[in-house]
Point group: C2
Chain length 219, copies 2
């Protein structure tokens, strides 16, 4: 039995998918949540100067999607064929592209006017384009999930992302995507995940600058 230690900050961010995968699989792990000072001390010893990192019996693995995919494989959550494993990868990668754009206005852009403009483009153009594709994928696949007939790590990854969009961009962002809204509800209703989510109950809203928490993009 391997021992696992997952190190990240005390937020959902790039580690939450892996925490949810451990939770779903019922596999114990050390959930290290760094303070800023601890991160400063740890950073030079990480492989690429980044977290999350996963230690498996002392060996280090870096890169958030790499870690989640590895756990997906360990816990039989990569679908039922090489093709389904690849579709998991595709959907995770494509939604990561959207989150690169998300990070620009949430974290990187400091100028408030440019920040608001990036956010506006995200809400009116980028997010709808991606969500439309995902909605069609969900409808076409039928059943409860995005890939094949069983829960995959891509479902958990993307349900978490949809939650982040609701929490940080627009509470009713899934209003026009009934398939995705139901999909997220089904994934988060899986008993072990439901219990974990209720217990942690932290929200991205807490990370947002006070002024932005109240921006209302609803019509």
């Amino acid at each position: 039995m391997s021992t696992y230690k997952l190190t990240y900050f005390d937020m959902r961010g790039r580690a939450e998918c892996s925490r949810l995968l451990f939770t779903y699989a019922g596999v114990g792990f050390e959930d290290v949540r760094l303070t800023g000072d601890q991160w400063g001390a740890l950073k030079p010893s990480t492989p690429w100067g980044q977290v999350p990192i996963l230690e498996v019996d002392g060996e280090v693995l870096a890169q958030s999607n790499t870690i989640a995919r590895f756990l997906g494989r360990k816990f039989q959550l990569c679908g039922e064929s090489d093709w389904e494993a690849a579709k998991c990868d595709e959907y995770v990668d494509a939604t990561n592209d959207l989150f690169e754009q998300w990070a620009k206005f949430v974290f990187f852009e400091q100028d408030p006017v440019k920040k608001a403009a990036l956010r506006e483009t995200f809400v009116t153009t980028l997010a709808p384009k991606c969500l439309e594709v995902l909605e069609a994928i969900k409808q076409k696949n039928g059943g409860d999930f995005l890939v094949g007939k069983v829960l995959t790590w891509a479902d958990i990854n993307i349900a978490d992302k949809l939650q982040i969009l609701e929490d940080t961009v627009k509470a009713d962002i899934l209003r026009d995507y009934p398939g995705l809204a139901k999909f997220k509800a089904v994934v988060f209703a899986v008993p072990k995940l439901k219990e974990y989510i209720e217990k942690t109950a932290y929200s991205y809203k807490a990370m947002m600058p006070e002024a932005e928490r109240h921006i209302d993009y609803s019509e």
Copy 2:
């Protein structure tokens, strides 16, 4: 026997790793290279409005790393264990992070002063930081490759990236990284790959604005 059709532009870019994987495996594929007009016509029918896409017996797979990883798995180029497959993913993802920065000054930034500044930071800080880590990985792993004892899709992916850095950033960018220089040479000396590279012989230099081809960052 599956039929494969890989669609991208007539450049290396995000498809070359997959072309090299087909070549190495000796598996035939239709190598579709779009003109700008063809791309305009095709774009609306692609899953995410992007290329490359890979069609496998008519089913479409998108996202360049997803495609390359899928081919890596088909052609037994994902290492010899789940851990080695994950290390392949980590090294590809981490070097992708570097190429996000590369794309900023090669493609996205239009202001020539900002472009030059981004390039300078890339050459003096970002690339060395990444190459140092890769060099240490190569030295620690011993042998010819980055992961374990056999050639993987990560080796092909990263050898291609190193070539791109030499072609577009600085011809002697690997001067201080003897392990990586040797690694690239070994991968590209694999007979099937060598023959393909000599035959295609296209260079990223041809994509660069004329003025930039002659920038010399060597001391």
